[in-house]
Amino acid sequence: MNQLLASIAAYAPGLREWLLLTSVIFSIGLYGLLTRRNAVGILLAVELMLNSAALNFVIFNRFCMPARIDGSVMAIFVIAVAAAEVVVGMAIFVALYRYRGTVDVNRMDTMKDPVTSFEGPVAFNKEVLDNINKQYKSHHDH
Amino acid sequence: MTYLTLAATQGAFKTVTVSERTAQAFADGSWILALVYILAAVGALGALVTVVGLVLIYAERKIAAHFQCRLGPMRVGWHGILQTVADAIKLLLKEDVIPERADKAMHLLAPFLSMMATVMILGVLPYSPILQIVDLNIGVLYVTAISGFGVMGILLGGWSSNNKWSMVGAMRAGAQIISYEISATLALLVVVLFSGSMSLAEIVQSQDAGWWVWRAHGVGLVAFIIFVIAVTAEINRTPFDIPEGESELAAGFHTEYSGLRFSFFFLAEFINMFVVSAMAITLFLGGWMPFHIGTGGAFNGAMDLIPPVLWFFGKTSAVVFLIMWFRWTFPRLRVDQLMYLEWKVLLPIGFVNLFAAAVVVLYNLYPFPIIVP
């Protein structure tokens, strides 16, 4: 029995295994960041990455200077920053959804053109465009 | 001579949790003993959940009935004492309906999440000096953290039912729980300040010279009141039961649940009541400590004869009764009143209270003489 336990314990994780694990989690988060188009989905992936980074701090703390606590403190800072980020991010998404009706990042192209942003894709007819711009101005002037 | 010193001299008092015993047994190489400990802990948790659930549901019915000049269940068994058992059997045999458009996996997961959160807290409560499954040195933080899983269970149940009433109920519950959690945590921190520890067993032992509710003069009492109000809101009981609001939302987040899964939600709700009451007494009312007046004397000696477990469950029942009393007296708050109470009343008072507690602890200010040693 003890031999079995010893052979199991031989696979105990060292610093490199831990770091490999966080790298894997970070890469998965990166994949999600690159493939998701929903803003909330992107935020989920970012949370994953932040989390693996915080874990990294604690791992280094545990293996490289176990008598100190700095890694844990940094992890707490990371968690706090993540919380702040999520609060603001979610507020922006909710406001954006109210305004645009979607949180698809591919459609957040407001800076491109005031008309397309306001109406969604419209036919680029010069007459229509001028008309809408005029109405837009008259509405927001008073 | 206080209880602790008395018990310590007689060798009766020794804080040994079940997990410590198990670790010791493993270290000694007696696998069988360790296994027995683990099984006993699991079995005791299961038994506790069942018994507390049955007793609390029966008590709720009877107490509610008598508050309203009724008799309550009277038919199944003596004074309806087997009514809950009959209901449990009915719920177990009932068809488990899942709405057709529901998110099935999430719908199945939600009640278990809710139940899991509750049972995980039961494991760290100190029922008596020798009856505690595990004593975490971050016990208070753990309890606050784990209750987050309960919120997720509720939110998930409401969302996955694909029913607008369920979803409205779930979102109300989520907003309510995470709001009131702040006040509850602020009240907890007062005790953490005074006792200087987050371990529940150590907090209980720190109340050897008087319970925090009156030894921390004024501050402790205010914290206790805030805590009771906040946890009443956190477990969604009247007057804070807008997530369920029968008259508006059918049954809130568990409208679409039936049979076993409904009973899980239901049981989790009642066990939650037990858990928050147990937390309240552990932090403020001395946990399993007996009631003492002064030092020594026949009265204290008589109190010491009552075993700590009875003290624990007796005090817990008192707080549970208080919460039931609230339920059958007060009308339900509106959503805006609920948020008003939290953000404009409880939270400022809680912050001021916490600040006062910090000042008292820092400068060792005890403006009143200590009545209870």
Binding site: L5, A12, S23, T35, V58, P66, A83 | M152, W159
Partner: protein, 206 residues
């Protein structure tokens, strides 16, 4: 002997489940399920913290992430109906490019980890009560203390809170119609083309 064995088994089991949950986070089509998978992944990370002798951090992780952040995300998903945004499955090109980039990153970082000589003192003694040490470190004004970052992070959280309220508030401040679709006239129905709007409700006066 039993301790290290249990530790090892737990590490690999929890690591495998974390990776699975993380994959679920980025691949699930329904966003709410992704959030639940994120919750599971973060909870298992709390388990890692326990394994790394940082119990306090584990508690904070569960408290902040599960009790706060994931609940917030679920709220946002419910409010924005992102769960119904079914076009959120990426195109194959996107998948391939994303996978390639992330795998490249993984190889790079794994190689870096593998070849770096780390100064390992695994025999060191960890602080028994990390809550106490973290609290002391956070409030230590001297060298090695973190009181300034602590205050900064408090300010950041306050600013985030106020900013969140301001941004997500329903009624926008005057002269800033783009902050949100509020309940001022003409702001509720932003989808209606301006030309079709009722002049009484803030549409163009024709």
């Amino acid at each position: 002997m039993i301790g290290p064995a249990i530790y090892t088994v737990m590490f690999w089991v929890v690591a495998a489940s974390t990776v699975l949950f993380a994959l679920a986070v980025v691949n699930t089509r329904k966003l709410l399920r992704a959030a639940i998978a994120l919750m599971a992944a973060l909870s298992t990370t709390a388990g890692f913290y326990v394994m790394l002798d940082a119990q306090f951090l584990a508690g904070v992780q569960v408290l902040v992430y599960v009790g706060g952040i994931v609940v917030l995300i679920v709220f946002a998903i419910m409010l924005t109906r992102s769960g119904e945004l079914l076009e959120d499955h990426p195109t194959p090109e996107r998948r391939v490019v994303g996978a390639a980039i992330s795998i490249m990153f993984l190889i790079l970082s794994a190689a870096a980890v593998w070849v770096s000589p780390f100064a390992e003192y695994s025999t060191g003694k960890t602080p028994p009560n990390d809550a106490l040490s973290i609290g002391k470190a956070l409030l230590d004004p001297g060298p090695g203390g973190y009181v300034a970052p602590f205050e900064v992070i408090s300010l950041l959280l306050l600013a985030a809170m106020i900013g969140g309220i301001v941004i997500a508030r329903k009624t926008p401040p005057p002269n800033q119609p783009f902050t949100s679709g509020g309940d001022l006239p003409g702001e509720t129905d932003v989808y209606t083309p301006l030309s079709q709007r009722d002049p009484k409700r803030g549409g163009p006066v024709s």
